[in-house]
Symmetry: C2
Subunit: 129 residues, 2 copies
Amino acid sequence: MAGSIGDKYYDVFLKYRLWLCNQSDEGILGDGRFELLREIERTGSLKSAADNLNISYRKAWGNIKQAEELLGFTLVIKQRGGKDGGSSQLSTEGVQLLAAYDELREDFDQSIKKITKKFFNKINKNGNK
Amino acid sequence: MAGSIGDKYYDVFLKYRLWLCNQSDEGILGDGRFELLREIERTGSLKSAADNLNISYRKAWGNIKQAEELLGFTLVIKQRGGKDGGSSQLSTEGVQLLAAYDELREDFDQSIKKITKKFFNKINKNGNK
DNA sequence: TTTCGTTATGTTCAAAAAAACATATTGCAA
DNA sequence: TTGCAATATGTTTTTTTGAACATAACGAAA
Protein backbone atom coordinates (compact mmCIF):
# COMPACT_ATOMS: atom_id res chain seq x y z
CA MET A 1 0.00 0.00 0.00
CA ALA A 2 1.25 3.39 -0.92
CA GLY A 3 0.12 5.47 2.04
CA SER A 4 -2.81 6.54 4.15
CA ILE A 5 -6.18 7.68 2.87
CA GLY A 6 -5.93 11.22 1.64
CA ASP A 7 -2.26 10.97 0.85
CA LYS A 8 -1.20 12.37 -2.47
CA TYR A 9 0.07 8.97 -3.52
CA TYR A 10 -2.66 6.91 -1.93
CA ASP A 11 -3.41 4.97 -5.11
CA VAL A 12 0.21 4.49 -6.15
CA PHE A 13 2.15 1.30 -5.70
CA LEU A 14 5.73 0.36 -6.28
CA LYS A 15 6.31 -2.83 -8.19
CA TYR A 16 9.30 -4.68 -9.47
CA ARG A 17 10.06 -7.51 -11.76
CA LEU A 18 13.07 -9.83 -11.59
CA TRP A 19 14.41 -12.04 -14.31
CA LEU A 20 17.43 -13.86 -15.64
CA CYS A 21 18.76 -13.07 -19.09
CA ASN A 22 21.90 -13.66 -21.09
CA GLN A 23 24.46 -11.18 -22.37
CA SER A 24 22.35 -10.56 -25.47
CA ASP A 25 19.51 -9.54 -23.20
CA GLU A 26 17.35 -12.48 -24.14
CA GLY A 27 14.99 -13.37 -21.31
CA ILE A 28 15.62 -16.79 -19.81
CA LEU A 29 13.48 -17.11 -16.70
CA GLY A 30 11.24 -14.72 -14.85
CA ASP A 31 8.55 -15.03 -12.23
CA GLY A 32 6.08 -16.69 -14.58
CA ARG A 33 8.45 -19.36 -15.76
CA PHE A 34 9.67 -20.14 -12.27
CA GLU A 35 6.09 -20.55 -11.20
CA LEU A 36 5.68 -22.96 -14.06
CA LEU A 37 8.70 -24.95 -12.91
CA ARG A 38 7.28 -25.04 -9.41
CA GLU A 39 3.99 -26.38 -10.69
CA ILE A 40 5.72 -29.02 -12.80
CA GLU A 41 7.67 -30.09 -9.74
CA ARG A 42 4.45 -30.32 -7.77
CA THR A 43 2.26 -32.06 -10.34
CA GLY A 44 4.76 -34.14 -12.29
CA SER A 45 3.24 -32.98 -15.54
CA LEU A 46 3.75 -30.10 -17.91
CA LYS A 47 0.15 -30.26 -19.03
CA SER A 48 -1.26 -30.20 -15.51
CA ALA A 49 1.05 -27.34 -14.64
CA ALA A 50 -0.07 -25.34 -17.66
CA ASP A 51 -3.73 -26.07 -16.96
CA ASN A 52 -3.43 -25.08 -13.31
CA LEU A 53 -1.69 -21.84 -14.22
CA ASN A 54 -4.19 -21.10 -16.95
CA ILE A 55 -1.72 -20.92 -19.76
CA SER A 56 -1.79 -22.99 -22.91
CA TYR A 57 0.28 -26.14 -23.07
CA ARG A 58 1.84 -24.76 -26.23
CA LYS A 59 3.07 -21.68 -24.47
CA ALA A 60 4.29 -23.49 -21.37
CA TRP A 61 6.19 -25.97 -23.46
CA GLY A 62 7.75 -23.23 -25.59
CA ASN A 63 8.79 -21.26 -22.53
CA ILE A 64 10.58 -24.19 -20.97
CA LYS A 65 12.23 -25.08 -24.22
CA GLN A 66 13.50 -21.57 -24.79
CA ALA A 67 14.89 -21.31 -21.26
CA GLU A 68 16.69 -24.61 -21.68
CA GLU A 69 18.14 -23.60 -25.02
CA LEU A 70 19.48 -20.35 -23.63
CA LEU A 71 20.91 -22.02 -20.54
CA GLY A 72 22.39 -24.92 -22.45
CA PHE A 73 21.09 -27.60 -20.13
CA THR A 74 17.87 -29.30 -19.18
CA LEU A 75 15.48 -28.02 -16.55
CA VAL A 76 12.68 -30.49 -17.08
CA ILE A 77 13.00 -34.18 -17.81
CA LYS A 78 10.10 -35.10 -20.05
CA GLN A 79 8.76 -38.51 -20.97
CA ARG A 80 6.05 -39.30 -23.41
CA GLY A 81 3.94 -42.33 -24.10
CA GLY A 82 2.91 -44.89 -21.55
CA LYS A 83 -0.34 -45.48 -19.80
CA ASP A 84 -0.65 -41.89 -18.60
CA GLY A 85 0.53 -40.45 -21.85
CA GLY A 86 3.71 -39.13 -20.34
CA SER A 87 5.12 -37.11 -17.48
CA SER A 88 7.61 -34.41 -16.57
CA GLN A 89 9.84 -33.68 -13.62
CA LEU A 90 12.50 -31.14 -12.80
CA SER A 91 16.11 -32.04 -13.42
CA THR A 92 18.63 -31.62 -10.61
CA GLU A 93 19.56 -28.27 -12.11
CA GLY A 94 15.93 -27.29 -12.30
CA VAL A 95 15.35 -28.12 -8.66
CA GLN A 96 18.42 -26.21 -7.55
CA LEU A 97 17.73 -23.18 -9.68
CA LEU A 98 14.15 -22.98 -8.53
CA ALA A 99 15.18 -23.22 -4.89
CA ALA A 100 17.82 -20.54 -5.36
CA TYR A 101 15.34 -18.28 -7.07
CA ASP A 102 12.78 -18.68 -4.32
CA GLU A 103 15.38 -17.62 -1.81
CA LEU A 104 16.46 -14.74 -4.01
CA ARG A 105 12.92 -13.55 -4.33
CA GLU A 106 12.44 -13.69 -0.59
CA ASP A 107 15.59 -11.71 0.08
CA PHE A 108 14.50 -9.20 -2.51
CA ASP A 109 11.05 -8.71 -1.04
CA GLN A 110 12.50 -8.33 2.39
CA SER A 111 15.02 -5.79 1.30
CA ILE A 112 12.50 -3.82 -0.68
CA LYS A 113 10.11 -3.23 2.16
CA LYS A 114 12.02 -0.59 4.06
CA ILE A 115 13.19 1.14 0.94
CA THR A 116 9.62 1.39 -0.27
CA LYS A 117 8.44 2.71 3.04
CA LYS A 118 11.10 5.38 2.99
CA PHE A 119 10.11 6.35 -0.54
CA PHE A 120 6.43 6.79 0.22
CA ASN A 121 7.13 8.57 3.48
CA LYS A 122 9.15 11.04 1.51
CA ILE A 123 6.67 11.78 -1.27
CA ASN A 124 3.63 11.72 1.00
CA LYS A 125 5.12 13.85 3.71
CA ASN A 126 3.15 16.82 5.05
CA GLY A 127 2.97 19.88 2.93
CA ASN A 128 2.79 17.57 -0.02
CA LYS A 129 -0.86 16.60 0.06
CA MET B 1 28.44 -10.42 -14.26
CA ALA B 2 27.03 -13.73 -13.36
CA GLY B 3 30.13 -15.65 -12.38
CA SER B 4 33.58 -16.78 -13.43
CA ILE B 5 34.52 -18.30 -16.75
CA GLY B 6 33.50 -21.90 -16.83
CA ASP B 7 30.71 -21.43 -14.35
CA LYS B 8 27.43 -23.03 -15.22
CA TYR B 9 25.75 -19.65 -15.18
CA TYR B 10 28.55 -17.66 -16.73
CA ASP B 11 26.33 -16.08 -19.36
CA VAL B 12 23.40 -15.43 -17.06
CA PHE B 13 22.56 -12.05 -15.60
CA LEU B 14 20.01 -10.92 -13.11
CA LYS B 15 17.97 -7.88 -14.07
CA TYR B 16 15.14 -5.99 -12.54
CA ARG B 17 12.69 -3.28 -13.39
CA LEU B 18 11.02 -0.86 -11.01
CA TRP B 19 7.88 1.14 -11.62
CA LEU B 20 4.94 2.91 -10.07
CA CYS B 21 1.42 1.80 -10.88
CA ASN B 22 -2.06 2.23 -9.49
CA GLN B 23 -4.37 -0.31 -7.92
CA SER B 24 -5.65 -1.31 -11.36
CA ASP B 25 -2.10 -2.15 -12.30
CA GLU B 26 -1.84 0.61 -14.87
CA GLY B 27 1.75 1.73 -15.26
CA ILE B 28 2.38 5.29 -14.20
CA LEU B 29 6.10 5.91 -14.20
CA GLY B 30 9.09 3.69 -14.79
CA ASP B 31 12.74 4.23 -15.52
CA GLY B 32 12.11 5.56 -19.02
CA ARG B 33 9.59 8.14 -17.98
CA PHE B 34 11.68 9.31 -15.07
CA GLU B 35 14.57 9.75 -17.42
CA LEU B 36 12.29 11.82 -19.57
CA LEU B 37 11.34 13.98 -16.60
CA ARG B 38 15.01 14.43 -15.80
CA GLU B 39 15.75 15.54 -19.32
CA ILE B 40 12.83 17.96 -19.32
CA GLU B 41 14.12 19.42 -16.09
CA ARG B 42 17.55 19.79 -17.62
CA THR B 43 16.58 21.20 -21.00
CA GLY B 44 13.40 23.11 -20.21
CA SER B 45 11.69 21.58 -23.23
CA LEU B 46 9.69 18.46 -23.93
CA LYS B 47 10.81 18.45 -27.52
CA SER B 48 14.49 18.72 -26.68
CA ALA B 49 14.11 16.02 -24.07
CA ALA B 50 12.45 13.69 -26.54
CA ASP B 51 15.06 14.40 -29.20
CA ASN B 52 17.92 13.83 -26.80
CA LEU B 53 16.46 10.55 -25.64
CA ASN B 54 15.72 9.48 -29.18
CA ILE B 55 12.03 9.01 -28.78
CA SER B 56 9.34 10.74 -30.78
CA TYR B 57 7.78 13.89 -29.41
CA ARG B 58 4.41 12.20 -29.80
CA LYS B 59 5.38 9.38 -27.55
CA ALA B 60 7.09 11.55 -24.94
CA TRP B 61 4.08 13.83 -24.76
CA GLY B 62 1.68 10.89 -24.48
CA ASN B 63 3.73 9.29 -21.72
CA ILE B 64 3.75 12.41 -19.60
CA LYS B 65 0.08 12.98 -20.17
CA GLN B 66 -0.84 9.46 -19.16
CA ALA B 67 1.25 9.62 -16.01
CA GLU B 68 -0.38 12.89 -15.04
CA GLU B 69 -3.86 11.55 -15.67
CA LEU B 70 -3.25 8.51 -13.51
CA LEU B 71 -1.69 10.55 -10.74
CA GLY B 72 -4.31 13.26 -10.86
CA PHE B 73 -1.89 16.15 -10.80
CA THR B 74 0.63 17.86 -13.02
CA LEU B 75 4.24 16.79 -13.37
CA VAL B 76 5.25 19.13 -16.15
CA ILE B 77 4.18 22.74 -16.60
CA LYS B 78 3.95 23.32 -20.31
CA GLN B 79 3.69 26.60 -22.19
CA ARG B 80 3.20 27.05 -25.86
CA GLY B 81 3.63 29.96 -28.18
CA GLY B 82 6.08 32.76 -27.67
CA LYS B 83 9.32 33.53 -29.38
CA ASP B 84 10.76 30.11 -28.74
CA GLY B 85 7.55 28.32 -29.55
CA GLY B 86 7.05 27.19 -26.01
CA SER B 87 8.74 25.52 -23.07
CA SER B 88 8.27 22.98 -20.32
CA GLN B 89 9.44 22.63 -16.77
CA LEU B 90 8.79 20.25 -13.93
CA SER B 91 6.14 21.17 -11.39
CA THR B 92 7.01 21.13 -7.70
CA GLU B 93 5.51 17.65 -7.52
CA GLY B 94 7.52 16.59 -10.53
CA VAL B 95 10.76 17.79 -9.00
CA GLN B 96 10.04 16.08 -5.70
CA LEU B 97 8.93 12.82 -7.25
CA LEU B 98 11.95 12.65 -9.50
CA ALA B 99 14.29 13.31 -6.60
CA ALA B 100 12.58 10.68 -4.48
CA TYR B 101 12.79 8.16 -7.29
CA ASP B 102 16.47 8.81 -7.85
CA GLU B 103 17.09 8.09 -4.21
CA LEU B 104 14.88 5.03 -4.32
CA ARG B 105 16.73 3.68 -7.29
CA GLU B 106 20.05 4.20 -5.58
CA ASP B 107 18.91 2.44 -2.42
CA PHE B 108 17.57 -0.38 -4.51
CA ASP B 109 20.72 -0.87 -6.54
CA GLN B 110 22.79 -0.88 -3.39
CA SER B 111 20.57 -3.37 -1.66
CA ILE B 112 20.44 -5.69 -4.61
CA LYS B 113 24.16 -6.18 -4.95
CA LYS B 114 24.77 -8.59 -2.12
CA ILE B 115 21.56 -10.46 -2.77
CA THR B 116 22.61 -11.01 -6.33
CA LYS B 117 26.06 -12.13 -5.30
CA LYS B 118 24.60 -14.64 -2.88
CA PHE B 119 22.32 -15.99 -5.59
CA PHE B 120 25.07 -16.60 -8.10
CA ASN B 121 27.38 -18.04 -5.49
CA LYS B 122 24.70 -20.53 -4.71
CA ILE B 123 23.89 -21.69 -8.21
CA ASN B 124 27.49 -21.66 -9.39
CA LYS B 125 28.90 -23.46 -6.40
CA ASN B 126 31.17 -26.46 -6.88
CA GLY B 127 29.59 -29.69 -7.90
CA ASN B 128 27.21 -27.66 -9.96
CA LYS B 129 29.32 -26.94 -13.01
C1' DT C 1 0.10 40.54 -39.05
C1' DT C 2 3.36 37.18 -40.40
C1' DT C 3 6.84 33.96 -38.91
C1' DC C 4 8.63 30.34 -36.16
C1' DG C 5 9.31 26.64 -32.95
C1' DT C 6 6.97 24.22 -29.54
C1' DT C 7 3.03 22.21 -27.44
C1' DA C 8 -1.24 19.34 -28.51
C1' DT C 9 -3.65 15.49 -30.51
C1' DG C 10 -6.01 12.34 -33.95
C1' DT C 11 -4.97 8.66 -37.13
C1' DT C 12 -2.80 5.12 -39.59
C1' DC C 13 1.00 1.56 -40.28
C1' DA C 14 4.20 -1.77 -38.77
C1' DA C 15 6.25 -4.90 -35.63
C1' DA C 16 6.32 -7.84 -31.80
C1' DA C 17 4.09 -10.80 -28.54
C1' DA C 18 0.63 -13.77 -27.21
C1' DA C 19 -3.22 -16.77 -28.07
C1' DA C 20 -5.53 -20.10 -30.80
C1' DC C 21 -5.69 -23.87 -33.90
C1' DA C 22 -4.15 -28.09 -35.83
C1' DT C 23 -1.67 -32.43 -35.88
C1' DA C 24 1.99 -35.70 -35.16
C1' DT C 25 4.47 -38.83 -31.98
C1' DT C 26 5.10 -41.91 -28.16
C1' DG C 27 4.58 -46.28 -25.43
C1' DC C 28 2.03 -48.67 -21.72
C1' DA C 29 -2.06 -51.33 -20.82
C1' DA C 30 -6.25 -53.42 -22.03
C1' DT D 1 -3.07 -53.76 -32.15
C1' DT D 2 -5.90 -50.24 -30.56
C1' DG D 3 -6.95 -46.51 -27.46
C1' DC D 4 -5.44 -42.97 -24.60
C1' DA D 5 -3.28 -38.97 -22.59
C1' DA D 6 0.71 -36.33 -22.55
C1' DT D 7 4.69 -34.57 -25.02
C1' DA D 8 6.27 -32.14 -29.41
C1' DT D 9 5.83 -28.60 -33.00
C1' DG D 10 4.35 -25.96 -37.12
C1' DT D 11 1.01 -22.49 -38.58
C1' DT D 12 -2.33 -18.94 -38.33
C1' DT D 13 -4.88 -15.31 -35.98
C1' DT D 14 -5.41 -11.84 -32.67
C1' DT D 15 -3.87 -8.50 -29.57
C1' DT D 16 -0.82 -5.24 -28.01
C1' DT D 17 2.67 -1.88 -28.59
C1' DG D 18 5.16 1.31 -30.67
C1' DA D 19 6.51 4.08 -34.65
C1' DA D 20 5.16 7.17 -38.21
C1' DC D 21 2.42 10.58 -40.34
C1' DA D 22 -0.39 14.62 -40.40
C1' DT D 23 -2.14 18.84 -38.71
C1' DA D 24 -3.95 22.36 -35.45
C1' DA D 25 -3.15 25.91 -31.93
C1' DC D 26 -0.47 29.20 -29.60
C1' DG D 27 1.85 33.70 -28.69
C1' DA D 28 6.06 36.63 -28.39
C1' DA D 29 8.87 39.11 -31.48
C1' DA D 30 10.17 40.96 -35.84
